[in-house]
Symmetry: none
Subunit: 72 residues, 2 copies
């Protein structure tokens, strides 16, 4: 991923995840873990968390402590 320096990384990651959810790549109940994000994009966990938090705020995923975040 070549980052756009003009926008936060977590936002760019959230954009990709949002696309995958809306286009069916990530069907309901698909788990989106923070570690998976850190591995795919090579970012820190805190950055991955911000991306997931954005999707959660949009009502696209739900987060269960100790379990993970899942597509709604």
């Amino acid at each position: 991923m070549d980052w756009d320096p003009k926008r936060p990384r977590w936002q760019q990651i959230a954009d990709v995840l949002r696309q995958r959810i809306t286009d069916g790549t990530y069907p309901p109940d698909t788990m989106i873990s923070e570690s998976a994000i850190t591995q795919e994009w090579g970012v820190a966990r805190i950055t991955a968390r911000k991306a997931v938090a954005a999707l959660r705020a949009e009502g696209l995923v739900t987060t269960v402590p100790g379990m993970g975040s899942f597509v709604l």
Copy 2:
């Protein structure tokens, strides 16, 4: 149970159990098992164990391996 996200679940469970002990709902010798807690609150066993451990630390219950935890 609608959890208060600001406080640990095991603490909130311990609060309820403590109340039941002090108000006589759970008289002495009443057994408080971990499985009973997991079933009533829908939490993992480790969470139930932490709640019981808190009560034990407060001297409200005693735990006997292989038997259970009992109100003092």
